[in-house]
């Protein structure tokens, strides 16, 4: 109800419009800043704009947003130049020179601002509101300016999209293709600067940086394609603008800038947790699944090797199966974990209960399980062999991050490796057809079948 009421107020409509446009343009540009690893440049530019704006006011005495744009632009360029000059000519690192430049510029700006305020020249009252942000004070005239700048920014981005893509991912390659990368970088900085300056009035110096960063980081969670990312980021920016403005109309004393930033942060947090591929929850699920898989494989390997020891000792001996405790000892896992893995494996019909003592189930493989375990153990031993004799295989192209080794080998290399395994007496001997099926038969006579 309140929201509908608020929306009918023409002033709110202007503010809303302004904030949406700001959100879109800074969202779009933020993507490129983010990909260039320059998220905090927006912060530096916003702080550096202060002395420029104050100087323009001192010189002209007018509060036109267009003139402020020019002043802030010049100061921002100077600051950018300082940042690169300091990190190029001294051993001071990029982040320090960023912090240094932004704080010194801001300090000078504060000096100028207080000088203006104390020199009482009449109509300076809106100046600090301009700098510390008050979206509610946006009027028709400001929104027109914002609209014009946002339009320029979005059109330029669209026209230079290919070039900016190149700039974000491989500037060296772009230079090789003959694109003027320095110029493009300059254009990008200039555009960032423009979006910062039009943002200043709505959200203030500190929070302008958030409008550049948060939507871009959020969009990154949902896509791997730059084009989609830019659109999504603009969308998130616009949504934050709408949401923030509406929330701030609902409560007295609630400033618009911070609520916009908090809305953007809320989108970010949501994506951080729930995005389908990169989200924390998705990754946690992946991790747990992986851990379970590794546990199951380790347990199967332990069971297989136990079985191997058993048959080596005497091929037709008394075989009651192995308890979870035995397997825990063999594999170095906790007994409870092994038991859990056993139940999981039983569900997949890889293992089965062979017999039981008073307190403990004793396990053995099913034929499918044995085949699977054979495959696992063979793979594991091939890897061991590979790592042991790595320099012997160094001319092979092996991706050690792949799970299986055998498919990566040529037949001849594989046979060499298998021969080596045999020489070390490491060939996994047990497979279903090698006459061990009697070891797998479930016994009903308490483990006495032969």
């Amino acid at each position: 109800m309140h929201i509908l009421l608020a929306l009918q107020d023409p002033n709110t409509q202007w503010v809303l419009m302004g904030c949406v446009l700001l959100g879109v343009s800074s969202g779009v540009l933020g993507c490129f800043a983010f990909l260039r690893g320059r998220s905090l440049v927006g912060d530096a530019l916003a702080h550096a704009a202060l002395p420029g704006v104050c100087l323009v006011y001192l010189l002209t005495g007018s509060k036109s947003i267009g003139l402020f744009l020019i002043g802030a632009g010049i100061a921002g360029l100077l600051a950018t130049y300082c940042i690169t000059a300091i990190s190029r000519h001294t051993r001071i690192k990029e982040d320090t020179s960023l912090a240094l430049t932004l704080s010194v510029f801001f300090g000078i700006g504060i000096v100028l601002l207080t000088y203006i305020q104390h020199s009482a020249s009449g109509n300076q009252s809106g100046l600090d509101k301009f700098l510390f942000g008050q979206a509610a004070s946006l009027v028709f005239h400001d929104v027109i300016t914002i609209m014009a700048v946002a339009a320029v920014l979005i059109v330029t981005t669209t026209l230079l999209f290919k070039e900016f893509t190149l700039l974000s991912f491989d500037p060296g390659f772009g230079r090789g293709l003959g694109f003027p990368m320095g110029l493009l970088d300059g254009i990008l900085m200039l555009m960032l600067l423009m979006s910062v300056v039009i943002g200043l009035q709505a959200v203030g110096v500190v929070l302008v940086a958030a409008m550049l960063i948060a939507p871009a980081v959020t969009a990154r969670y949902w896509t791997d394609k730059l084009c989609t990312m830019v659109i999504l980021s603009g969308l998130f920016g616009a949504l934050s603008g709408v949401l923030g403005t509406l929330i701030s109309t609902q409560q007295e004393n609630l400033p618009t800038g911070p609520t916009i930033v908090l809305s953007a942060t809320a989108f970010f947090l949501f994506s951080l947790l729930f995005s389908p591929r990169r989200g924390v929850l998705a990754r946690l699920a992946r991790f747990l699944r992986m851990r379970k898989k590794v546990l199951c494989e380790d347990v199967m390997q332990a069971l297989y090797e136990k079985l191997e020891e058993q048959t080596k000792r005497s091929p037709t001996s008394f075989y009651p199966g192995f308890s979870a405790e035995h397997l825990a000892q063999k594999s170095g896992k906790r007994t409870a974990a092994v038991r859990k893995a056993m139940y999981a494996l039983e569900k997949r019909r890889y293992v089965t209960e062979r017999s039981r003592t008073k307190s403990e189930m004793l396990w053995t493989f099913t034929p499918e399980g044995l085949t699977e375990a054979h495959r696992l153990v063979l793979n594991q031993r091939l890897w061991d062999l590979y790592h042991m004799n790595q320099n012997q295989y160094q001319d092979l192209e092996i991706d050690v991050n792949q799970e299986e080794l055998a498919p990566q080998l040529s037949d001849s290399t594989l046979s060499v490796m298998l021969a080596q395994l045999r020489a070390y007496d490491l060939t996994p001997m047990l497979a279903d057809q090698h006459g061990v099926s009697h070891l797998l038969q479930p016994s009903n006579q308490g483990g006495l079948s032969l």
Partner: protein, 293 residues
């Protein structure tokens, strides 16, 4: 007397910031200092709301907690795959927004002026005094800043070797069994404490200048950590003193003027440092060219 108190407070702020800032820039965490100085705002406001007064101790505790939370969140985000600069940016702006919202909602209760938070008002320091058992103890801010300064001197002094090693070679430090993360968080605690103590006098935003600029100046002038610490403190104090007079000449913000002077000192070091300065490097290059010719 008031002039002296203001300059003394400013110098103490500059000295303690400059001292800690050296470790920050050596560990490439300058922007983390910036982030903390913004992010502690909600901590301060909450401390106001809970304690109902402007006592320095609850504020210090609130700020230290939020400061550590900030560092922790940045670390978590970074580990979950967000680039470190973006992680810093998202975290501190969000926390700062929370702070601004709290200030705006509870303006009546907390008696906290946003402009004052942003760029501080050191000129009021002499009038905000506190009393102990009826005795006037002098400016509250002076006690806060001085106390934190002494505290960080003691902590860094006790663990100087560890801090030094962690700053230059964290991997080696970890290998010989120094709890690197513990010292990381200890340093961040000190930075948060200093920030909040300085916040009343130089404002949240200008603390970062005192953290970074004098230390960067010192970094250009020496290769030894000991010397760097002293030069950094010296440059900070010099900026405070000269900044005060600049500000009274221009009738402008003292904190801003301190920063401007600090920036000027950095510029001097940038140009004229005997080994790392622009001009000495150019001279050296000329000599090499002449020698080659």
């Amino acid at each position: 007397m008031n002039t002296f108190l203001i300059i003394l407070t400013g110098s103490l702020v500059a000295a303690s910031c400059g001292f800690l800032g050296c470790f920050l820039i050596l560990r490439r965490m300058a922007m983390l200092g910036d982030a903390i100085s913004h992010a502690i705002l909600p901590g301060i406001v909450l401390a106001f709301l809970f304690s109902g007064s402007r006592e320095i101790l609850p504020m210090l505790i609130g700020a230290a907690i939020i400061g550590l939370i900030t560092v922790f969140i940045v670390q978590m985000l970074n580990q979950s795959g967000v680039k470190s600069d973006a992680a810093i940016g998202v975290t501190f702006t969000a926390l700062f927004s929370v702070g601004v919202v709290l200030v705006s909602l509870y303006t009546q209760q907390v008696d906290l002026d946003l402009d004052c938070v942003l760029y501080g008002e050191i000129a009021y320091v002499p009038w905000d005094t506190w009393q102990l058992g009826g005795v006037d103890m002098g400016p509250r801010a002076l006690w806060g800043v001085g106390g934190v300064f002494l505290f960080s001197l003691v902590v860094i002094g006790l663990f100087f070797k560890q801090f030094k090693l962690c700053s230059f070679d964290p991997a080696l430090a970890a290998a010989i069994g120094i709890p690197v993360m513990l010292f990381h968080y200890l340093l961040m605690t000190l930075v948060s404490l200093t920030t909040v103590a300085a916040f009343e006098s130089v404002g949240a935003i200008l603390v970062v200048a005192m953290l970074v600029v004098p230390s960067a100046t010192a970094y250009l002038l020496t290769d030894r950590l000991h010397a760097m610490l002293f030069i950094s403190m010296g440059a900070g104090v010099l900026s405070a003193v000269m900044g005060y007079f600049l500000a009274s000449w221009l009738d402008s913000s003292i904190a801003g003027a301190m920063t401007a002077v600090a920036g000027f000192l950095f510029l001097l070091a940038f140009l004229f440092s005997p080994r790392h300065g622009l001009i000495s490097k150019m001279v050296a290059r000329k000599k090499v060219q002449l020698g080659g010719a």
